[in-house]
Symmetry: C2
């Protein structure tokens, strides 16, 4: 496992982490449980520090993308975990999705094993090494859903009617116009306002104002 970037003091821990439950009772499921919680913490802490302006919902969404099975399976492939996995005879021939989920689980199990074999600092450094490029590539702006989408999702999840955007005024000459929008939401006593150099931008601003009010309300 030279690609992993860690040398185990206790090689039986490493072996256990790569032993799928199809091999029998001694398998990597408990290590996976532990490793999952370490991975979640390490990524949470990195995102918290990396995006000081991001709200909690945004941080949760970014983390979910990093710790989902698909991403973990990618990492497992980059580290060649497939060559070291111990599978029961029934699993050896299985392919596709099942194999991906086995690979993903093994990444978490190895994180748990590294932690037990060393300490949090070592496990964290290892995980952040594996994730370096993925974390650097995150584009907060791009990953953020726009306010109109967020408002719509918020209302739909509460079985509320969709918001109504009303254009109340357009000022200025062509190419320098300012649009004024009111956003009507049934849950809110007053419409929220937005203005911008395009109708869409003004609607986004009004939607964002509505979300802020609703989020204070809902808590």
């Amino acid at each position: 496992m030279h690609k992993v970037g860690y040398e185990f003091k206790d090689s039986s821990l490493c072996e256990l982490a790569l032993t799928h439950r199809s091999c029998g009772k001694r398998n990597n499921e408990r290590l996976e449980f532990l490793g999952d919680s370490i991975l979640n913490f390490v990524i949470a802490e990195d995102l918290y520090a990396r995006f000081p302006q991001a709200r909690e919902g945004e941080l949760s969404r970014l983390r979910a993308g990093q710790v989902k099975g698909e991403t973990l399976a990618e990492i497992a492939r980059e580290l060649n975990f497939g060559d070291y996995l111990r599978l029961g005879s029934g699993e050896l021939k299985s392919g596709g999705f099942r194999r991906d989920s086995i690979l993903a689980d093994s990444v978490e199990a190895v994180i748990g094993a590294v932690y037990l074999d060393s300490d949090m600092e070592t496990a964290r450094a290892l995980v952040l090494g594996w994730y370096k490029e993925r974390l650097e590539k995150i584009n907060l702006k791009k990953s953020q859903k726009d306010s109109k989408t967020r408002l719509q999702e918020f209302l739909q999840s509460r079985r509320q009617p969709l918001p109504n955007y009303e254009l109340v005024k357009v000022e200025g000459e062509a190419h320098e116009q300012t649009f004024y929008i009111l956003c009507h939401v049934e849950m809110l006593p007053k419409a929220t306002k937005g203005k911008g150099s395009s109708r869409r931008q003004a609607e986004q601003e009004a939607a964002r104002a509505a979300i802020e009010l609703l989020q204070v309300e809902k808590s």
Copy 2:
């Protein structure tokens, strides 16, 4: 906050952790995100070490009970967090469930703040101090569902017919009998066997054998 058991070097962190989002943009939501991941790790690690025989599913279930909102709200009450919370005027009069969820969130936020103010060792010791009696009280046997229940739930969740327990033999005199059971499960090619000093015990053993085969299958 003398009951909390931690003295902040940076008191603004403590304040932020106790500031609900109803107060405005500077609130404890981001700290809650961070603290949640630390809490999950600390409890996972403790349960992992405390119950070396517990399977992953059991550990997950035990942890869920420890980190759920209800438990966190209890802890917040024991630590008198309610006296220190900063709420917006709209929230001051709200009671009941809403207040419980605010209290629960503040516990996670304080954990995040303590971690940022110190380190993982300190945060872990603090959390384990708050949880000491709760963790010591966990009774693995009692919290474990019996195998017949687990088998039934497993099959129901997959829309499978219920298992069939067949008594095939009873050996020995009264008070020293041995019961032999076959457990028939449609998903399995062969019935699994169980024997025990009561019919129920034999059924449990046969059910456990079936679960083990099914869990290898499903992976």
